[in-house]
Amino acid sequence: MTIPADLKYTKEHEWVRIEGDIATVGITDHAQEALGDIVFVETPEIGRVVDAGEAYAVVESVKAVSDVFAPVAGEVIEINEALEGQPELINTDPYGAGWIAKVKMSGATSELLSDDEYTLFTEE
């Protein structure tokens, strides 16, 4: 299970890459492993304003349907359209090609963990 050092994480197993005021968000390797094969991703509408901690996307695996919560507040400015035809990108490359959305941050964030803190959290 990989936990890249340059990302921040939430206790809901989302990751966020913050570059300036743009946050790229997705679900962690741990999350995709627990969910199993992802078969459908419901991405948010571009322009939607989300609160930190608000459910903004849905991932469906062969086992379960799960909400994905926004690690940061802001406006959705881009979504990963490739997920529509290839939901498995979340399984094969959760931190890269499996990103879910880009959010223009408005300030508030969920409690964000460092890679070390998230590693400890998943080991609990």
Binding site: A34, D37, V39, F40, V62, A64, V65, P87, E88
Partner: protein, 496 residues
């Protein structure tokens, strides 16, 4: 362990099992198999413009070919009448034959919902009696039999709660709290009623965490939806305090009655503080599950919510049973008839067969059977929450994970050994969940055979013979299906 030794012990064997093509693939002649006498095939001139120009694509088959097709397909099926069916939270209990005799009585089978009330007094009397029974069993005296399924009952229950809140002037209350162990229908029902859900994290014992509940209760709270016992098979022992907290915050408590089988005749949701409950008659009261036929999910409510029940209501006026078409602040009709009579009468027959003094045996035997299974499998399988369970026991695949074996492998191997798998990967609050609900209708011999199979799988895993588990099932007509491909690239239509 070799398959031959397993086959001596368990009932699953290979035999004359037929591969079966689609009807269209079978077809070998354009002509139909039955010639109906006296059918005039000429289209009258006045209807010529509607005559089809190309032949209908109806497969040409003889009668025996058609019969064999459907009988063979039916033999691929597994039902409660074929064998043990321990799906957790589904209460797959036996459907007694006497129920079928009751609903086939001509006076019940051949009536129509639009008949005059005075010509169906017997049927209305039985439905009214069922309302009384369900009111007493749930501790919520006012009952509607209309909802046509458990999920429909949930929706109707929340519509009633919504109507009550609106009548109180609490139109702004839109937040519905749903524990993370809840059935997936709960948030769906809330959303359909225009409310939004907030997930409550379970505590370390798999029960509702009072602190988490308090955190989320506020002036926007419309309701808490709770299942008791919950889907981890645990009784919500704080239920009274939970209901008091919700009521104090101005909200109402919806009870998901899916697990009523653990309580029937012993404890009553209404006495626990629940305001509104749906009842799955196909679970607790032994009516057939699904199959596309009519279902029923009656809803029982307390005095506060009674004015909002759907109409028509079945009432007794002196010695006469009537359909009351308008009532206080009713949410209106939720079905085209007063209820799905066939399935409701089966439920009534089941309750009558036990009677007031013996209904508690249903819950007691269901709980005993689940605890027997839990006791036999504890140690070989991880038990995430300590203590006795109610009507279903929850295990995980943590011990088997060390050998690379997962819940899905265990479930598939059970098929080879002659058992329908338990519910897998639900509830979501534990990793690799296996939820086993034997119900009260299984004998100790059946429970032992199932536990033996589970223990054999655990032993096979410990012995390092994991390939057989990953390959399973090898005996049924279909090997392990590719669920991922089926979901990602479903083929839903047949085309030449």
């Amino acid at each position: 362990m070799s398959q031959s030794s397993a086959s001596q012990k368990y009932s699953a064997v290979s035999g004359i099992q037929h591969e079966e093509a689609l009807l269209f693939e079978h077809a070998h002649e354009a002509a139909e198999s039955i010639n109906l006498p006296g059918v005039n095939r000429d289209v009258p001139a006045s209807l010529q413009s509607f005559a089809r120009q190309t032949p209908a694509n109806i497969p040409g088959l003889s009668e025996p070919e058609t019969v064999r097709h459907f009988v063979r397909l039916s033999q691929w099926n597994h039902g409660i009448e074929t064998g043990f069916y321990p799906l957790g939270s589904c209460t797959m209990k036996y459907n007694p034959r006497v129920n079928e005799q009751v609903v086939r009585l001509p006076g019940l089978a051949h009536i129509h919902p639009d008949q005059p009330e005075d010509s169906v007094q017997g049927a209305l009397a039985l439905l009214h009696e069922l309302q009384q029974w369900l009111g007493e069993i749930s501790g919520l005296p006012h009952v509607t039999l209309q909802p046509a399924a458990g999920a429909h009952g949930e929706l109707v229950g929340l519509m009633i709660i919504r109507a009550c809140l609106d009548a109180r002037g609490d139109t702004h209350r839109k937040k519905v709290l749903v524990p993370d162990s809840a059935h997936g229908t709960n948030p769906a029902s809330a959303a359909l009623c225009g409310m939004h859900t907030v997930e409550l994290k379970s505590g370390p014992d798999g029960r509702i965490d009072l602190e988490a509940l308090k955190q989320h209760l506020d002036g926007d709270t419309a309701a808490l939806m709770m299942t008791n016992p919950n889907t981890a098979g645990a009784f919500e022992s704080d239920v009274r305090e939970i209901c008091d907290l919700v009521h104090a915050a101005g909200g109402l408590v919806y009870g998901d009655g899916a697990n009523l089988n653990a309580l029937v005749g012993v404890a009553r949701p209404g006495d626990m503080g629940i305001d509104c409950l749906h009842i799955n008659v196909h679970k607790t009261f032994s009516t057939p599950h699904g199959g596309g036929g009519p279902g029923a999910g009656p809803v029982a409510v307390n005095d506060t919510l009674a004015p909002f029940l759907p109409v028509p209501r079945i009432i007794k006026n002196g010695d006469i049973y009537q359909l009351q078409h308008s009532h206080d602040a009713s949410i209106g009709p939720v079905l085209g008839t007063p209820g799905q009579i066939g399935v409701l009468l089966r439920a009534n027959a089941y309750i009558a067969a036990f009677g007031r003094n013996h209904l508690h045996k249903i819950a007691e035997d269901a709980v005993l059977n689940a605890n027997y299974v839990l006791h036999r499998l504890k140690g070989a399988y991880d038990v995430p929450f300590e203590g006795h369970c109610k009507h279903e026991c929850l295990l995980t695949d943590t011990i088997q994970n060390r050998h690379g074996v997962k819940t899905l492998d265990i479930a598939k191997r059970l098929i080879d050994l002659g058992f329908h798998p338990m519910t897998v990967y639900f509830p979501l609050i534990v990793h690799g969940a296996m939820l086993i609900e034997p119900t009260e209708t299984e004998s100790r011999e059946t429970l032992d055979a199932f536990c033996d199979a589970m223990l054999e799988i655990a032993a096979q895993c410990e012995a390092g013979d994991t390939q057989a588990l990953h390959d399973a099932p090898v005996r049924p007509i279909r090997r392990r299906l590719d669920e991922t491909q089926a979901a990602r690239n479903p083929v839903l239509v047949w085309a030449d």
